[in-house]
């Protein structure tokens, strides 16, 4: 079914000029403004909720993984395996796994996907803090928590932020696929557009999500710079 719609979409864009498609797309932005606004809002929720929960889970889990090997092996292992599952497959898997369709399974699938970069970056960020700094910290009498709070976290903060940025940008793109299991968002336009063979509808989903990704990348990049401790900036 995907293959069929893809083929028709391709023939369709090949038959019309890109300029024509854009004109029809701009018309659509005006006429379907209300729908676009709702879809945009839904899309943001599809990103913010999973990424927000992912931050709350992945950072503590990443920290625990640096402390206990019993956490490290399964958590980091899963993170690495999870990353290799294609995103569409993960979303589609929600149905046979018994989560059904709608927003909830979409959030769950996106959450699983969002955790991975943050978890990995938290873990590597902390473990790559120079071992001599850790020895100095312990040698001066810091407890494990003090060392985490005063040394390891400040030094790995930029890396963790980079993980959050990667995760957000990936999820903005992946959330488009949520529409296949009825998750709503900008992806709904694309899915319908592919079904109806209407490139203006496809663009109505694709362009705003691309813009969203670019803005998120920029803003989070700024934030990353801002949280980098002054002593680390060159």
């Amino acid at each position: 079914m995907f293959a069929h719609t893809l083929v028709s979409a391709l023939t369709l864009t090949a038959n019309r000029t890109f300029g024509e498609s854009m004109m029809r797309f701009f018309n659509l932005v005006v006429t379907r403004q209300a729908d676009l606004r709702i879809a945009l809002y839904e899309h943001m929720l599809l990103v913010l909720i999973p990424v927000g929960i992912a931050i709350c889970i992945a950072i503590p889990l990443g920290i625990l993984a640096t402390r206990y090997r019993a956490v490290e092996i399964p958590a980091i292992g899963l993170a690495n395996v999870g990353q290799t599952i294609p995103s569409l497959a993960l979303i589609a898997l929600m149905i046979p796994l018994g989560f059904g369709i709608g927003r909830r399974p979409a959030y769950i699938a996106l959450l699983i996907y969002a955790i991975l970069p943050i978890l990995r970056n938290t873990f590597t960020g902390i473990t790559s803090v120079d071992s001599s700094l850790k020895r100095a910290a312990r040698g001066m009498g810091m407890t494990d928590l003090q060392m985490l709070w005063k040394v390891e976290l400040p030094l790995s903060f930029p890396v963790i932020m980079a993980g959050i940025r990667t995760s957000t940008v990936i999820i903005i793109g992946t959330a488009v696929l949520a529409a296949y299991i009825g998750g709503g968002g900008l992806g709904a336009f694309i899915v319908t557009g592919l079904g109806l063979v209407r490139d203006d509808l496809i663009l109505l989903g694709a362009v705003p999500s691309a813009i969203l990704a670019i803005i998120a990348d920029f803003v989070l990049g700024r934030l990353e710079e801002w949280v980098t401790p002054r002593g680390l900036k060159v």
Partner: protein, 383 residues
């Protein structure tokens, strides 16, 4: 006081890093650990603050087993300068210095005062350096801050692991001077690791030479130079000393020891007799272990024995020019020339008389340093 009792450290891979260490470092002593790379110096140091646990044996600090103390308390009360310096890059100089004060909950005001005090101690202007980050400091400045960080709460025991490694000789010398001045001022028990013999000789009260995790010799620098226990020690000293100019040797390596001594109320006749008996041209005058002055043959003549046979040595114009035993001969010679005296009293860092440098002996001393083989041969012929 730090006491090692049969301390042994075997790593998981069965490397024996420290093998049956028995040693007492006295309160206020500057102890230098030296030995080739991998002989177990860092391991020994890290067992004191329990970054590493001994496999067997005990380490006592002021009589208390370190095992019975809480790790963090033990460490906060002990300065630690780590081999890699490891200043925290995200903290300013002031924050780095105040890591331990912070842990102990000092007030902001206390911390600021202490930071200024410490920076001034190593001649870094607090107003310029306090708010800098480590990356904005030169290597030498970073090492100074590393040392200050260890001194922040004025700990009784200071562990220093090659704190001045990888510095140019000039900066190193300067830091040595600063550390010596500091030790003179604040009397800490310092355990200092190095693999540079010159550094050891210059700083130490006693030197501990290690090889393969074992003690080879524990002695004062003078004793190690004079009576190396075995070939290994001799080689270790030798290889370090070959390229030195005779004026670069330290006063304490070549000074005259076992000085003839008299009390100030001894008669001038006694002094004359003692000089003839010992065949020297000076006598140290001390009272209750305190140095009063040096009586040279010159000054003894001025007492005019014939006219006043009852005169006391204390009445003579005694020489009170002194030189620190850790200074170089360059300084001693300079001081002799400057004061036109014939003898200098050599004091250790606690201000105790330990020896003398006499004008008459100077050529011998220099010759021995410059041509050790010939000098030794010459001595043998004579005896």
């Amino acid at each position: 006081m730090v006491v090692f009792e049969d301390v042994r450290k075997v790593y998981d891979d069965e490397t024996v890093a420290v093998d049956g260490l028995n040693l007492t470092v006295e309160h206020g002593e500057f102890m230098v650990f030296i030995g080739p790379s991998g002989c177990g110096k860092t391991t020994t140091l890290q067992m004191i603050n329990r970054l590493k646990e001994p496999t067997s044996g005990r380490i006592l600090i002021d009589g208390k087993d370190t095992k019975d103390m809480r790790n963090v308390d033990l460490r906060r009360n002990m300065g630690y300068v780590i081999q890699e310096i490891a200043l925290f890059p995200h903290m300013t100089v002031a924050q780095n210095i105040c890591v331990v004060p912070d842990l102990l909950g000092w007030s902001k005001k206390q911390k600021e005062t202490r930071t200024r005090e410490l920076l001034e101690l190593v001649s870094l202007d607090p107003d310029i350096y306090m708010d800098r980050f480590p990356r904005e400091l030169s290597g030498g400045q970073q090492q100074r801050i590393g040392v200050l960080r260890a001194l922040a709460v004025d700990p009784d025991v200071l562990l220093m692991d090659e704190p001045f490694g990888g510095l140019d000789p000039l900066t190193r010398d300067q830091l040595h001077e600063e550390l010596k001045a500091l030790q003179d001022k604040v009397q800490k028990t310092i355990i200092f690791v190095t693999h540079d013999m010159d550094e050891a000789l210059k700083l130490a009260d006693r030197v501990t030479l290690m090889r393969d995790g074992k003690l080879v010799q524990v002695d004062s620098p003078e004793e190690i130079l004079r009576n190396p226990n075995d070939e290994f020690v001799a080689d270790f000293i030798g290889s370090e000393r070959r390229l030195m100019s005779p004026l670069d040797v330290l006063v304490r390596e070549v000074m005259l020891e076992d000085l003839p001594t008299l009390r100030p109320d001894a008669s001038a006749m006694d002094a004359l007799r003692l000089m003839q008996e010992k065949n020297t041209d000076y006598i140290a005058i001390t009272e209750d272990e305190t140095f009063v002055g040096m009586l040279s043959a010159h000054r003894l003549q001025e007492l005019r024995l014939e006219e006043d046979p009852d005169s006391r040595v204390g009445d003579a114009d005694l020489v009170t020019v002194t030189v620190d035993s850790r200074q170089t001969m360059m300084e001693a010679v300079h001081r002799l020339a400057e004061t036109e005296e014939h003898v200098l009293a050599v004091m250790n860092r606690r201000g105790k008389l330990v020896g003398a440098i006499s004008r008459g002996w100077l050529p011998d001393i220099l010759a021995k340093e410059m041509w050790p083989k010939e000098a030794a041969g010459y001595e043998m012929e004579e005896s």
